[in-house]
Symmetry: D2
DNA sequence: TTTT
DNA sequence: TTTT
């Protein structure tokens, strides 16, 4: 039976997206994302940061490589995937990644000056009058 | 700036979906969904039910009309939309609906015997080997 | 059976929170929140804004009244609740609200200058060494 | 600045919860959870299963150990945490877990016959008349 | 009634 | 490795 596997993150990019083009022309982008949580312990303010490996595919990777940069605040929606790989010493290792299905840049107007708009994969199949889906794909402008 | 407007529900359909075909061939389906919360008040178990107006468009409406029925347990993801309309006495009224962007039937295998599969609008642009997106649209089988 | 009723919003406050103290000392705060979606229609960038009625109770209302103001960007998590009331002409009306269960201020450092920190109802029951829950309640600093 | 780190899963337990009592009396429970996704590839129905490591602390661990069993369908809400540990050969390894903050048993009424109710950490600070929070903690019945 |  |  089908299940649900959903991740919602708001955090800052630790690095610029790294873009690769696979055989067959598929684009993949990835970057680390930090989500910080601040809490109080015995009167002291403590910050705990969690790092996430974000992976984006195809059109979403292209949009990300254009509009996301180190330090930006971004909302990311995606799913968890754990995959195995062999390291240099041929030891089998596991890594858990967040495969993004959607993202939106957050932040101030000034943050957008060189990056006109940021919502990726917009969905608005919900207007009574709109005769067909937005055909422009991932670029929302 | 872009924002986020997301609703996640798990509940039972109060009625079969009601399907309409608008001018221009657009399909819309709608149904009430109940989400129940059980809690304890002064030692007594209390159940509180919230009713939601679910609306689905186009392909998602078609899939819903085939696979969702009164009583089924379903996961729904969508967004809030409040719209105004005039009632019979021409009084302006407002209603808040959940416009579904995705749904998945939950429940037992036996529940699926006449409805092979239930995940709508699957997204899996995340396999290294998969050369192109699933082209079958909303029908996941 | 239990269900799920969850709303996740990122948007800007349309007004300062309005705070009321009910009989019995319970505090309630409420404000309108705008979530904007930008999309492309026939080459033109279109913005669609949805307004949500946010309601907060007790400790969360107190924190909100201190740290949230008109214009601020905030992440809100809560649940949908539709309630009925009688208007001035004693006509029964319905309104759907988002009852907040959690919120986090988003935005730049400069936004926080007069509002030290913003995460409400922090949860971090997840450290191996931490012997008991944070006892300071809603104030995260 | 604060961020958001949220995971939402619906899936089946791969094993019964494993419960441990740490020094200091803290209870921890953990189990693997499978989320399956069914999609169509070249006309063939393909099921892809993702496994998640779920960890629960304190009261939530106690409730989980009572009501969750291998095979049960459960909704889980929590956050991602990657931690390092040393394996038997003293090699440093990393594992990503979902630290549950909330869970709800899903499924048929018959599934609950020996486990009356399943919503953990209920929140309903939202009734106008309710003078104080549910004081019974994690046990919702 | 917010924001970009 | 981000941010406040």
């Amino acid at each position: 039976m089908s299940g649900i596997n959903k991740v919602i993150l708001v955090g800052h990019l630790g690095k610029d997206p790294e873009v690769r083009h696979l055989d067959g022309g598929v684009t993949v982008a990835s970057f680390p994302l930090a989500t910080s949580e601040t809490y109080n312990k015995e009167g002291k303010r403590i910050e705990q940061t969690e790092w996430h490996n974000i992976v984006l595919w195809r059109g979403l990777a292209e949009v990300a490589s254009k509009y996301l940069q180190k330090g930006k605040l971004v909302y990311i929606e995606g799913k968890l995937r754990t995959r195995s790989f062999e390291d240099k010493e041929r030891v089998k290792k596991y890594v858990t990644e967040v495969v993004a299905e959607n993202f939106t840049l957050l932040g101030r107007k000034s943050d957008f000056e060189n990056t006109p708009v940021a919502a990726a994969t917009p969905k608005h199949e919900n207007d009574y009058v709109e005769p067909e889906d937005n055909a422009t794909g991932d670029l929302p402008f």
